[in-house]
């Protein structure tokens, strides 16, 4: 190390080290503090520091008063955790989340996720998407209004708050394959999301168990609207919107009003009536809508927009498939953190969009997905901590058993499950290795998992694609977001993407690699360490680009 570059690097490090503050005394270091996640979650202002922390002049005063408060907070948290521990003595082997509202912050790594207490025989965890909302904070939830009319007519109006509309993209599946035609993929059914989507919680009626936190938008389609099979551009209220007819009696219309995306689901009427109802809506001053009197619709639910939540929203979708290599998904579970005060969403909409039943200690909303033109049945409940849990199965069989068999897990237990599923991937038969820059990507078990090797470090993970969440669907693409020796990689393949487009992380400079092998596009994106989210764009073969947004996986 004696060339000129070495000297410059040495000088650079010397300059960095010269800025080091004096070490804190041991007595101060010894003080037990709450977890870092708690301390940095708004406990103190950053005064505009940059992501790397090199943006402030001088050293911040070490505020002992703040530490006293934090220690007190830690004590309270310890008591709460002790209570939780007492309550969960029957199952100390798992890091069980009780759903008590007083539990610690529901950050991604500490989120409550509901998984089977024992994986049903013949099944395994086959799909995992445990990303988080790209916005970084829980955005305001939409206004939801439900109206009923004669002959079983039901109308649901979902108005995205302007803030969410400005920052969100529609949730759907893996980007190159988002143009799904196979039933209950992520946004096939009408969801709470508007045309430009929202990262807020999906309404149970729109949740089919496969809602992905991977978010996709289409570039070049109808402005502001997702593009997929079944969704057509339409003139709605005199402006260019979109229409999706799920069945002869179920239609969703999207339109923008004042830049705010609005979605209207109409059940119990054909598309012509649905258009007429939507065209006849009158905006109210509070952001809601009144129906035309002639329609005979009565307002039964009107939930105002939910507040923005400082918690990191954590949404996880996991699918359990049969052990048979050619077998499909048996059921899928989505857990999604609701904003504070939105836990009444389930019961408020139950009367119109599903049947509320008592299953053991839970009130469960059961929905026949046929109403949305998709197969299967879904069941949803909200736990005391505001976690919306939805279980979907394509056949409807065994649904109650799946729901009754769920238990909440957190933190380490969840990571153990992911590690086990990832280890299983590594043992599945491997395909041909694909060289992508410094990474070597290998698919395992067909499209069930992906492994990445970089600098002799290797990591595997089940794919997060959800486009084959049908009993016999085949993946046209798959991707996995994983950490390799602590470095964040997003890798995968697609049979119908034209190429890899721009990659835009929220910080730093990415490195993207792609190659085409046998007509299949393979890609590997190395995301900067300081990035917590990133958007990866793809060029589709039909000329319309798609973009997927991902959040850094939990380490």
């Amino acid at each position: 190390m004696a060339d000129h570059t070495d000297e410059r690097i040495r000088a650079l490090i010397a300059r960095a080290v010269a800025q080091a503050p004096p070490p804190p005394p041991a007595q101060e270091v010894a003080t037990p503090l709450p977890d870092l996640a708690h301390r940095t979650n708004g406990s103190r202002p950053s005064h505009g520091s940059t992501e790397l922390g090199w943006g402030e002049h001088g050293h911040r005063d070490r505020d002992r008063g703040r530490r006293v408060v934090l220690v007190a907070a830690a004590g309270i948290a310890a008591v709460a955790l002790a209570v939780v521990g007492i309550l969960s003595t029957a199952d100390r082997s798992r890091d069980v989340g009780t759903g008590d509202p007083g539990e610690a912050a529901l950050t991604q790594g500490n989120a409550i996720r509901y998984v089977p207490a024992a994986t049903p025989a013949g099944l395994h965890l086959a799909r995992i998407d445990d990303s988080v909302a790209v916005s970084g904070d829980h955005p305001p939830d939409p206004r939801v209004s439900v109206l009923e009319g004669p002959g079983g007519l039901r109308v649901r109006i979902v108005v995205d708050p302007p803030d969410a509309a400005a920052t969100s993209t529609p949730p759907t599946t893996i980007p190159p394959t988002s143009a799904d035609t196979t039933g209950p993929t992520a946004t096939t059914g009408p969801t709470v999301t508007g045309p430009t989507g929202t990262t807020g919680p999906s309404l149970p009626a729109g949740t089919d168990g496969s809602t992905s936190t991977t978010t996709t938008t289409t570039v070049g389609g109808p402005p502001g609207f997702p593009a997929r099979a079944g969704l057509e551009s339409a003139v709605v209220r005199g402006t260019t919107g979109a229409l999706e007819q799920h069945s002869a009696t179920a239609t969703t219309l999207w339109f923008l009003q004042g830049g705010v995306p609005i979605a209207v689901d109409v059940f119990g009427a054909d598309a012509t009536v649905a258009r007429r109802i939507v065209d006849g809506l009158t905006p109210r001053g509070d952001g809601g809508f009144d129906p035309a009197p002639a329609e005979g619709l009565t307002l039964v639910v009107d939930l105002p927009p939910g507040p923005a939540d400082d918690r990191q929203p954590a949404t996880t979708t996991m699918a359990y498939a049969t052990d048979d290599p050619g077998g499909g998904v048996a059921f899928a579970v989505t857990t999604e953190q609701l904003a504070v005060g939105r836990d009444d969403l389930l019961t408020a909409t139950a009367g119109s969009f599903g049947e509320l039943q008592q299953w053991r200690q839970r009130e469960v909303l059961v929905q026949d997905r046929a109403a949305y033109g998709t197969p299967g049945t879904a069941a949803s409940f909200v736990d005391p901590a505001g976690v919306l849990v939805t279980v979907w199965t394509p056949t409807g069989g065994g649904l109650r058993a799946y729901v009754d068999g769920l238990e909440g897990v957190r933190g380490g237990s969840w990571r153990e499950l992911v590690d086990q599923a990832s280890a299983r991937v590594a043992d599945l038969p491997a395909g041909t290795p694909i060289e992508l820059g410094p990474a070597t990507v290998t698919s395992h078990g067909g499209a069930r998992g992906l492994c990445v090797e970089v600098d002799e470090e290797r990591a595997c993970r089940p794919v997060d694609a959800t486009d084959d969440l049908t009993p016999d669907g085949a993946a046209r693409g798959a991707a996995a977001s994983l950490l390799v020796a602590g470095e964040w990689w997003y890798v995968g393949y697609s049979t119908d993407a034209g190429g890899l487009g721009p990659v835009t992380p929220d910080a730093g400079t990415p490195a993207a690699h792609e190659t085409v092998v046998g007509g299949v596009l393979w890609f590997a994106v190395e995301l900067p360490d300081q990035a917590s989210t990133a958007t990866i764009q793809f060029d589709a073969v039909d000329g319309r680009a798609t973009a997927v947004s991902q959040a850094r996986p939990a380490s």
């Binding site: 300059r15 010894a30 037990p32 940095t40 950053s46 402030e56 020796a485 917590s532």
Partner: protein
């Protein structure tokens, strides 16, 4: 040195023998933390890393406790980055919503250092620091960070390549 009393979780506030370990490595830890995340949060990062390390059940059995603290520090960096990025996003949003619309910009004190180091992963920063500041060999760095020597060589090569790009402008 590594007696049972070092497990301070048994008696909060009783510093035990771990204090000697910390004080022997404090300067090194803060310097490394400064390279990893910058000077402003270096002490907080060190405090947290030490706290977690000495509360770990495996702490009493650790042979190289200084190295363990270094490894704990590097591992903690990534979590720290994520939390700070989220916090910064919240504050940017809050600033945007300020009625007066007033926002403020802070000029980095040393753009070169920031531009250079932000290209590296925490492990690469640690490798660079240990190689160029502490003049440790490949084997020593590998043992300290609990990775293979091959991994250290590659991380070092990639880090040098990235730094060269920045330094060459």
């Amino acid at each position: 040195m590594a007696s049972v009393s070092a497990h301070i979780g048994e008696a909060e506030g009783n510093l035990g023998d771990w204090e000697e370990v910390y004080e022997a490595h404090a300067l090194r830890l803060v310097r490394l933390a400064t390279v990893l995340i910058g000077p402003d949060d270096a002490c907080d990062l060190v405090s947290e890393a030490v706290r977690r390390a000495v509360h770990s059940p495996s702490w009493p059995a650790v042979r190289d406790q200084g190295g363990y603290l270094v490894s704990s520090l590097v591992n903690l960096t990534r979590e720290f980055h994520r939390e700070r990025t989220r916090r910064a996003a919240r504050e940017r949003r809050a600033a945007r919503l300020t009625p007066t619309g007033a926002t403020y910009e802070v000029t980095p004190p040393d753009v070169d250092i920031r531009a250079a180091l932000e290209r590296l992963s925490p492990q690469q920063r640690a490798v660079i620091y240990l190689a160029y500041w502490e003049d440790l060999g490949i084997g020593q760095i590998a043992r300290l960070l609990d990775v293979s020597e091959g991994s250290v060589r590659k991380q070092l090569a990639r880090a040098k390549s990235k730094l060269k790009e920045v330094l060459d402008g």
